[in-house]
């Protein structure tokens, strides 16, 4: 036995710990550091980096569910963008009704309004995810072509229903008073809302990491990603697990959508489609099925988007999502 391998009580033979792979973690840090000389100004760099991290967190929220669902059940939901849009609309509907609270000058009321809106968005998209899974995805498990078509169809229908309910005109959504403006540290500017969004994204990431690595359900999910048949054979219902993950992913998309709506300060039904492209890029870069990869991928894409936007105005096409 090696000395440093800890021996657990239940296992007689301990496994040597996996060597930690640092390369993915180094990537976004390296990107940030490399771009420092290219930008030249330290304060600008800090501002951009911060904005990029905040944007990356929001993208992570929207992308993480999709990548887990794919890893677990080999289902790629092209209708995921619809959840984002629905979440955004639900949040907007709640916030516009609570305009007394969002307009008030007290942090607490503002926070409560945003919290209620986010919870409402998550509830709506969670239910929608359940329906989506039951009605659309369940009958076409294992058939990729039909899955793509069906989920696209679901996306079209959801988008049209949003149009029917809220009308085709983009809804403008003013930020609550407490989140307007920015904090200044010397020349470094940090928008308050981005700070909040970053906090939420980080909390969700940590919570996800803890659930996935420290709980039994997380263990089953990870095992299911590795080898679903084996988990079934051990007597667990992977399908039920999958429904759970699917619904969780949908709620996260709803949360991400509501934050994104506040970030953009407008809500349109087309936003789902715009973001889904970004989300696909992120989950492919991160590796399908990997939550950590998705996190790194989101950071990379968002940082790159922010730096590139600074480097050249003509590169605006890279930033359409921004």
């Amino acid at each position: 036995m090696t000395e440093n391998a800890s021996i657990r009580e239940e296992s007689a033979t301990a496994l040597p710990a996996l060597r930690r792979d640092w390369v993915p973690i180094v990537l976004p840090v390296g990107l940030a550091l490399l771009s420092l000389p290219l930008i030249g100004n330290g304060a600008t760099w800090a501002t951009l980096t911060f904005a990029g991290i905040a944007m990356g967190m929001m993208i992570f929220l929207m992308a993480s569910g999709l990548t887990l669902v794919f890893g677990l059940m080999d289902v790629l939901n092209f209708g995921h963008g619809a959840f984002i849009a629905v979440g955004a609309y639900a949040a907007a509907a709640v916030l516009l009704r609570l305009s007394d609270w969002t307009g008030a000058d007290t942090m607490l009321l503002n926070l409560a309004a945003v919290g209620i809106a986010a919870l409402a968005a998550m509830a709506v998209t969670g239910v929608l995810g359940l329906v989506f899974e039951r009605v659309l995805i369940r009958p076409v498990y294992g058939q990729h072509l039909k899955q793509i078509l069906i989920t696209m169809g679901g996306f079209i229908v959801a988008e049209q229903i949003l149009h029917a309910i809220f009308g085709p005109v983009p809804i403008s959504l003013p930020l609550p008073t407490a989140f307007r403006g920015s904090l200044n540290f010397g020349e470094v500017t940090i928008e308050k809302f981005r700070l909040g969004a970053m906090g939420v994204g980080f909390v969700v990431f940590v919570a996800m990491a803890v659930i996935l690595t420290r709980t039994k359900i997380g263990l089953l999910v990870r095992a299911g990603v590795e080898n679903p048949e084996m988990v079934e054979a051990l007597g667990y219902k992977v399908r039920r697990l999958f429904v759970m993950v699917f619904v969780a992913g949908s709620t996260l998309a709803g949360l991400g959508g509501s934050l994104w709506a506040l970030y953009r300060e407008t809500v349109t039904a087309a936003m789902g489609m715009e973001i889904i492209v970004l989300v696909f890029i992120v989950i492919i870069v991160g590796g399908l099925g990997s939550v950590g990869g998705c996190f790194i991928g989101s950071l990379l894409v968002a940082l790159l988007a922010n730096y590139a936007g600074f480097w050249r105005q003509r590169w605006r096409w890279f930033l359409i999502f921004y």
Binding site: H144, I148, I150, V157, H163, A164
Partner: protein, 358 residues
């Protein structure tokens, strides 16, 4: 003769035959049967979208791969013709140059995308084409010195095709033959020829291999067909046809812009046409495109009247609002994927006497 023309792939259903004849006659005589600029516009759109949907069906229905980049190639074709005419002025040589430029851009791009991403699962190809197509749409709207940005480019077409052109005051059945009608026939016959060529291709040995790949890629590979190569060629072929259709569309519209060629909603329209019409048969593209474009242009009137009669019921009225026609087609799309994967054509071709066990 007819058998040869249709590449031995006959409709195999009386009703389908009848519908196809009605559509073809309707399109062939559109300027005289349905005078008026709106009807002519609809007829042109149907002709072009038949080619577009048919070429997409070569990918989706015959090869079994989902691409979201079809409007990308359509747009490249349209921009090729549009920009050539805008920069070099109206002449037939320039039109030809525009088509060549469009093809020269579209086909290599299709080959590269295919070779890079068709090695893996269909799902990755779908994601990658989606990303490439949206990047391209943004590129086209941002390179405004070249493409005209969001506004696009207006340009002049050769004189014969301009609305002001008169064919010696010739009028047939009370309709004056002008440049618009000549353009219409150029596009109609162009589309017809493209469709027949596509029909020929899918019924060739190459087309059989594509179907074999759709049914079972492993077995096709085991039989010695390089699936990557065949899929990539199918992708390039579809791109070629789409680029030609795009060029024709630019000639008709005398304008190119991101909304009319590259937008994602057109991609969705093509998908709906192919699936509702029937995947894996090019006749499905004809039915799907016709049905869809007619619905897009005339269903709204019908829904408007339903909506007006239901004003008192708020939600129902909103659902029947004229702008919600896509909602109904979306639902029809989902139902088609579930219950009739072969679409309308598959339904029509099914022998009513043969009871199939589902």
């Amino acid at each position: 003769m007819l058998t040869r023309l249709l590449s031995d792939d006959l409709p195999r259903s009386r009703l389908l035959m009848l519908l196809l004849i009605v559509i073809v006659i309707g399109l062939a005589g559109a300027p005289f049967l349905f005078p008026g600029s709106k009807a002519l516009n609809v007829a042109v759109k149907i002709s072009i979208f038949i080619v577009l949907a048919a070429s997409y069906d070569v990918l989706l229905g015959y090869t079994g791969i989902v691409s979201f980049a079809h409007t990308l190639f359509y747009g490249i074709g349209a921009y090729g013709v549009g920009i050539a005419l805008y920069l070099l002025g109206p002449s037939w040589a320039v039109v030809g140059l525009g088509f060549v430029a469009g093809i020269a851009a579209a086909v290599p791009l299709a080959l590269v995308i295919g070779l890079l991403s068709l090695r893996v699962k269909a799902i990755f190809f779908a994601m990658i084409t989606l990303a490439v197509a949206s990047a391209f749409a943004v590129l086209a709207s941002q390179l405004s010195e070249f493409t005209g940005g969001e506004d696009g480019r207006n340009f002049r077409v050769p004189e014969i095709l301009q609305p002001g052109f008169k064919l010696g005051n010739l009028s047939l059945w009370g309709v004056e033959v002008n440049g618009r009608i000549l353009s219409y026939y150029l596009i109609f016959f162009g589309s017809l020829i493209l469709f027949l060529i596509l029909l020929r291709i899918v019924n060739s040995p190459f087309g059989r291999v594509l179907q074999a790949i759709r049914e079972n890629p492993f077995r096709a590979e085991a039989l010695g067909y390089r699936t990557v190569i065949y899929r990539t060629f199918a992708n390039a072929l579809a791109a070629l046809a789409a680029a030609l259709a795009g060029g024709l569309w630019a000639l008709w519209l005398r304008h190119v812009g991101p909304d009319t060629t590259l937008s994602f909603s057109i991609m969705m329209d093509i998908l709906l046409m192919v699936v509702i019409g029937g995947m894996g048969t090019l006749y499905g593209a004809i039915l799907g495109a016709t049905l869809f474009i007619l619905a897009q242009n005339y269903l709204q009137n019908l829904m408007g009247s339903i909506s007006a009669s239901l004003v008192d019921v708020p939600v129902i009225a909103a659902v029947f609002h004229p702008d919600r026609w896509l909602l109904w087609l979306g639902i029809l799309f989902i139902l088609s994927v579930y219950f009739f994967p072969t679409g309308i054509v598959g339904r029509l071709r099914r022998d009513p006497r043969a009871r199939r066990v589902l």
